[in-house]
Symmetry: C2
DNA sequence: ATTTACAAACAGTCAAGTTTGTTTGTTTGA
DNA sequence: TCAAACAAACAAACTTGACTGTTTGTAAAT
């Protein structure tokens, strides 16, 4: 019975364990909710002992903020990538709205709703998250600024439309918790896409109406 | 040291105590957050013993759902009252948006954000809240339907604009938790009021553009 | 190339503090 | 006198942080 485990460097072990903890934390947050999220459960989902976690993190709060920050950073990566690709390609406004709706409703904002209220009651928690959230908004800005330049729309105005879009999507996702009705949200999204299209007139072709 | 307490009927005592518990529950929920809301704290804020609460409610969950339902019912009352008064008077669309923003950001949606995620993980909780939330939306519907009839706009369309407005407001309030910037939200609200105005052309006068 | 010493990574247990539901006792109104 | 309204104490269950011990990798010395 030779051990089938390949030897890994300490750094690799550490990095992988941290990743496991982060993933487990977000999973538990999403599936069980903030008030039910215990370090015991996180360790179980991560397949680790609680003692191992105390080696990597000093407190529960540190585990949470680290996991959330890592999650947002990852979203940022994808956001900037999309912004660059989109800027070169010059896509439609509909596409942006769909993209935002998609990645927000795919767990991101549900997880956000779990920890967001905590920041109202925990200054440290809030202080730790504000910088990553700022970066998140820079990522969004990159997308809409690219669009604004292409369409010759003032960036200030683009920013307002962007922020409004984000708020609509947040509000819609919040509502999905108590109201499940696909058509309802589809109608609203369609309506909003129409409005955004109006705000960003297409430069040459692609005007469908 | 004669007791200065006036004798009250059992029903009065009971009703007042229930009201105190409800108020305290919402207060604690708003100020301390869902995960920090304990029955001990609620009792303290209500100025009651925990034992007294167990007489009125069988469980913590019952205390919470009762308080939340009562809060929403009270909002509904005001909503329907506004709808009636507004319908007779025939106010502006700006006014509606302002009104919604006002009562949503005055604690209502902050409290909602505290308990909303819980409904994702607690079916009983959710089942108890869905009917009151439905009534809440009927109240909103009453306002916008009144407007739609006055302006000769299809009610379906009014409903979409209404729901979008609600979602924007929800999303904005959620964002205020991590971003405080009065001007930012003022600009967005102004932009949105403009959009709503476009969707509901004034019947005769009051066209400002 | 081993051996040896050390630090990082991990597991498991314990005690202190909270929280909730229950139970028992007391006061107030019908 | 009886029941509702309230108070207070209790027990069981959780959760967290701290502490102790074991394994795994690293690097220096032989």
């Amino acid at each position: 019975m030779a051990s089938s485990k390949k030897p890994r460097t300490q750094e690799e072990r550490s990095a992988e364990t941290l990743a496991r903890i982060r993933r487990a934390t977000i999973d538990v947050l999403y599936e069980r909710g903030f008030s039910r999220t215990s370090t015991t459960e996180i360790a179980k989902v991560a397949g680790l002992s609680r003692g191992a976690m105390t080696h990597h993190f000093a407190s529960k709060e540190e585990i949470l903020t680290d996991a959330i920050a890592a999650m947002l950073e990852e979203v940022n990566q994808r956001l900037f990538a999309f912004a660059e690709e989109y800027g070169e390609r010059g896509g439609t406004t509909d596409e942006i709205v769909d993209y935002i709706w998609q990645f927000m409703s795919d767990r991101l904002f549900y997880v956000t709703m779990e920890y967001l209220p905590e920041t109202r009651h925990n200054e440290e928690f809030k202080a730790r998250l504000i910088p990553v959230v700022r970066r998140f908004h820079e990522g969004l800005d990159a997308i809409w600024s690219a669009l604004a330049r292409k369409r010759g729309v003032p960036e200030d105005h683009a920013r307002i439309v962007m922020n409004t879009t984000m708020c609509i999507v947040r509000g819609m996702i919040a509502q999905t918790v108590l109201r499940q009705d696909g058509g309802y949200y589809a109608d609203m999204l369609a309506f909003w896409k129409n409005e955004v299209r109006r705000q960003f007139p297409a430069p040459q072709k692609e005007g469908s109406s």
